[in-house]
Symmetry: D2
Subunit: 334 residues, 4 copies
Amino acid sequence: MDTMRIAVVGVGRIGLTHAENLACRVRGAELVAVTTSDEKRAAEARRVCGAIAVYEGLDDLLAGEQLDAVCIASSTSAHADNVVQCAAAGLHVFCEKPLALSLEDCDRAIGAASQAGVKLMIGHVRQFDAGHVGAKARIDEGAIGNPLVLRAISGDVDPPPPSFADPAVSGGLLVDAMYHDLYISRWFMGDEVQRAYAEGGALVDPAIGAVGDVDNAIVTLRFAGGAMATLFVSRTCRYGHDLRVEVIGSQGAVQVGYYRHTPVRLLDRQGVHHDMARTFPARLGDAFVAELQAFVDCVSHGIEPPVSGEDSRATLAIALAATRSMHEGRAVEL
Amino acid sequence: MDTMRIAVVGVGRIGLTHAENLACRVRGAELVAVTTSDEKRAAEARRVCGAIAVYEGLDDLLAGEQLDAVCIASSTSAHADNVVQCAAAGLHVFCEKPLALSLEDCDRAIGAASQAGVKLMIGHVRQFDAGHVGAKARIDEGAIGNPLVLRAISGDVDPPPPSFADPAVSGGLLVDAMYHDLYISRWFMGDEVQRAYAEGGALVDPAIGAVGDVDNAIVTLRFAGGAMATLFVSRTCRYGHDLRVEVIGSQGAVQVGYYRHTPVRLLDRQGVHHDMARTFPARLGDAFVAELQAFVDCVSHGIEPPVSGEDSRATLAIALAATRSMHEGRAVEL
Amino acid sequence: MDTMRIAVVGVGRIGLTHAENLACRVRGAELVAVTTSDEKRAAEARRVCGAIAVYEGLDDLLAGEQLDAVCIASSTSAHADNVVQCAAAGLHVFCEKPLALSLEDCDRAIGAASQAGVKLMIGHVRQFDAGHVGAKARIDEGAIGNPLVLRAISGDVDPPPPSFADPAVSGGLLVDAMYHDLYISRWFMGDEVQRAYAEGGALVDPAIGAVGDVDNAIVTLRFAGGAMATLFVSRTCRYGHDLRVEVIGSQGAVQVGYYRHTPVRLLDRQGVHHDMARTFPARLGDAFVAELQAFVDCVSHGIEPPVSGEDSRATLAIALAATRSMHEGRAVEL
Amino acid sequence: MDTMRIAVVGVGRIGLTHAENLACRVRGAELVAVTTSDEKRAAEARRVCGAIAVYEGLDDLLAGEQLDAVCIASSTSAHADNVVQCAAAGLHVFCEKPLALSLEDCDRAIGAASQAGVKLMIGHVRQFDAGHVGAKARIDEGAIGNPLVLRAISGDVDPPPPSFADPAVSGGLLVDAMYHDLYISRWFMGDEVQRAYAEGGALVDPAIGAVGDVDNAIVTLRFAGGAMATLFVSRTCRYGHDLRVEVIGSQGAVQVGYYRHTPVRLLDRQGVHHDMARTFPARLGDAFVAELQAFVDCVSHGIEPPVSGEDSRATLAIALAATRSMHEGRAVEL
């Protein structure tokens, strides 16, 4: 394959990011089309991506284009069906996280890709951030000894658009947002989670509570080998897009994250002032390019992608256990 | 009262710190005696405090000196009896944290002080650290809106001496060490804890596990008003004495703690390097002076101390609930 | 003009950066050709830029392509002639800094562009770095009061390739490297320099001294309005690409620069460790895109570029005065 | 000598600091008296130091007390005479910096101490700050290779009281304030200064200009071995007491100074905010204790103090050369 012909399914916030990266920044791939039934989004996609085809939906896309691969960025609840359909069409699949909202759907999607012999990679974007990559390398080289405890915070400045608040579509806060911290926990600790306990609440936004979700939550994890983690996720971090994770080991610790964004510091009679990243593109822009580049490279060279469907399934299993714990007020074993 | 005559009961690590501060740094008090049956500690106390009397125990001390107040730094398991005896002798009492190992003993000590009409203050040292004081002021002035979630880490470089490892004497990791994070949580959040969940393990030091204690633990708290906290305490933070706490509120966040200690930074081909505080005196030295100064000032001016016996009792109640949660594998309501 | 057809003249280190940015990241421009007589560089340019023409030199390029604009990244000693030739051909010109090695050549180039009615913009890349832009905005909005003193450091990790060391080609350390600090000084202080004093030495690399240049230098500037600046430039900052500038004003100060690069911090028994940017692309990569985007946008909209030939001339005048000061051991008035 | 009997001559801002430290924090010394003709200062000295004698002047003091040593904190213009008188009385002398306002007076004071066989130590306080001590240790152990260039800033928040502004009493900005950076430069670089160039101005406070002094100045130094330094001193750093120094060496760099003071960070929609030290006691409080402790210990053990009269004389020589440079607009050789 010389240049991979790829399309993006769904161009909401994250799909548009993927489309622009495929059009402008990823090497070895050519963005040929996107799908959307929204005319405004179609226009926006054309504006940032140049001359591309726009299809109403996946059926049209598959009928209308000769593709090598797809990038699925539809609603989470549609992921599994999309993957199955694209795999059946012989296309390699990059699918946004999580792979599905149920373990059964995960299995169905994984099976379809396996049967079709196509690559399936899930968008665990933080695994491609230079900070997380560097920390993982330090852990793997033994710089902190045995990992004992992981602490993480993931804070968004503002609640997402209402569409995300419907747990039936997004899976809820733990499946949708804390998911990132869960796969990072598995990856950093190199172990599987055995027990989860969660506390959560709609502490700021009653609208989120009204649909049965929470806007802030804390999850405690126990790993099979005895290690532990405490994760905090928030939709209401007014001060910035605050991603931090640290692992304390038997010989030291490693931390990812920082507060500075623009390298400017103001000093006046009130003190010292600077900014921090306020959006996920500001914090993770390069990682979104890197993950798609990894997908394209793996397909090109016929090697397994670094994030598998099974990784997403295992992550979802923890998220579902934590969600159950939150609703039932008790620790849940996996 | 011109200058308060005070004695320190018990001159282990923390008692010696108090003695030196009373002898050299606290104004309005005169350290006249300490108690210890260990000749080496007696010599060390004389070396750092100058000409003071040394008594074998509390009975001798009370018989031998005309005192205004005592600072109790004996084993935690002896605190309550010591407080009762000193209160009965009409002495004002500063008692190291926690006040006792059971709520009943707390009540007994509080009652004795109340009946005797003497001041009773408990050593919640972090409430006198400039960092924690500054953060509390910011919270109280509304700079972060409503406090929603508190995250804390308390890490000691190395396991304490074996004497601390006996939970019957120290109360165990949550009562002895996480206690600090618990009173800070109540103080910062301005609310009472309703539910606690804990995970812990003897992850590094099997000797700690052998006596039924843990060396690392995570506790999740739920407050009456809905707010939450996640606390991590460790005896095995090899890299430093790592005290950090942050409160995320509805309008912003405030953080206490830092990594720099000596203001020196080395830059070389390997990167950028600096040190951090490695011991509690390095991190909290000034706070130990400030808390005793507050006690002396309150007694001098006849006003109530800023940390009451009831504060210690409420803190202990959380620590005991968390300890039960850790042993029973379930959330515990207070 | 729909899409500007542009070529890059010279594809050394910086020319290749410009070519790649024009090919992949700048909107509204199409890179159609580069010039180089070196076959390896031609191959490298094709690798990073895709299908482009490669010409031996400027004459061939102008004969062979229909262009709208050029980006001149040849040796500094060739800049002026290149600008004159391209302007005469009716092309808009983006020229790397400095515009020339003498004020006479600056005037000749400025005059040629003016007469031809083409835009001429000089590559003052730091004026397009988010950090410097943010600081300038703070100064302009009055956040620091009147600017009083500017302090800057510009450190490269390692000496540049030998070609740069020949002052007859590069202009020497002050014209080639400190030039950046000089235009930032004019820009931040909003004033013209009146007097310069320089000390310099070949402190590390005798080869640099052998050709009459220095590898480390300090320059003091006096501005017409009384403000001052102290600039330090080094070819031998082993620890990183260290760009920092601060302006102290009558009401506060603003600082540009930082030490963190990858957002990872390692903590161990030796202390706290992290990395910093080691190369100019790592520190200024986005700024190189932004300056070319500004050029393309100005040409497209027919407006004056934000950095003029006169800006480069004024900057060079200071660099030449400082160089003279260094050689003559006395302050030099401009 | 068991406990050294010492008196403080002059209890202005700095003398009072020394008196309090000798009374409360320095071991092995007993503060027995101070001199002042100002009744308010006498009362203040008694308040912070307890029961001490107060004399009108040095004659009275020497007549009235049996002393072992004195700490001279009178006006700089009186230092030399005070040292000579105390040395003649057989007293060991700690003298605030600078030793005198002329090299002749330095020689006179040094000679008097030498002839009397008493110790003479000058108050180079930054040499006792943990940050500067740590950096010097790193330099000495070779962590940065050969020191090449030193950069320093010393900024005071606000102009000092009018008495300091009279150059005839204080020596002017370079002798009074930049003096600190000059001795640090000699100490860190381990070399002598050969040439100085200075630019300065009364940029903020016309009253300072009216008496012939400046409020901001930049000094460039050339060392005998070729190394260089650039020092900036300001009376008008509105944002804090900003002490920073860095040494760039052939293999790395070391930096002293930081912006954080209270370990609290506030994060809100406007960004990240924290404080920095605003006064010299906040930044250097411990160093003032350490330097007097060093003096007391040296006298007790009969060893030479770490800062000699010759160190002060050499520092003053640079300050005087820089002052001349500033007035004459040319580099001055030492």
